[in-house]
Amino acid sequence: MRLLPFILGAGIGAPLRYAIDKFLRAKYVFPVGILIANVIGSFILGYNNTNYFIMGFCGAFTTWSAFMIDVDRELAFRRRTAINIALTFGLSIAAVAAGFALAS
């Protein structure tokens, strides 16, 4: 059974990202919520990328579109945007590597 765990994972991942982002956006200018979701989701996928619940969860929890909308909207704030891009890629790739290392 692949469909049900995938749907369950996505159905939890997307609203969890929304709740974290909404909560933190009220407190910080920097999009910390999306960054946290992307890094944690990358860590989990690095740990296990064969389980369908995890595949559904990580795909829906992490997002490229929200990250890019933020980058585009904040493009004039070069320093903040450069930090967001560097942290998103740097920490997400490091998180995949850490999850992968933990599993092996």
Binding site: F6, A10, A14, A19, M55, G59, A60, S65, T88
Partner: protein, 114 residues
């Protein structure tokens, strides 16, 4: 400005729908790398289009932008692919995705008349 159950449900349903479409798209495309690139760019277009081109309610935006486009696009799979790439190829792929997305958003946003 709190979070209601109906908002969470809309994001969940949009996220499930977007994730299922992503799964089918990536399986239909010849490689994982191309699949992730295509869905991420298409998702940016959808999110940008709904955000900037059509009149929508807050709940419609929650379903389509936060739920559907958020679930359709993925950063975890992209980070996984980059982790498997060489540093030079990784930097090139990241820059390519960033620039194409910025171009899509530039094109999708209505021009401001000056």
């Amino acid at each position: 400005m709190g979070i209601t159950l109906i908002d969470l449900l809309l994001v969940a349903l949009g996220g499930i729908f977007g994730s299922l479409v992503r799964w089918q798209c990536i399986e239909a495309l010849p490689s994982m790398g191309l699949g992730v690139f295509i869905v991420n760019q298409a998702g940016v277009f959808i999110a940008g289009f709904v955000a900037y081109r059509i009149k929508t309610s807050i709940r419609q935006r929650l379903f389509w932008i936060t739920g559907f486009a958020g679930g359709f696009t993925t950063l975890s799979s992209f980070a996984y692919l980059l982790h498997e790439s060489t540093p030079v190829s990784g930097i090139f792929q990241a820059a390519e995705s960033l620039l194409v997305s910025l171009l899509i958003l530039k094109l999708v946003k209505p021009r401001v008349k000056s």
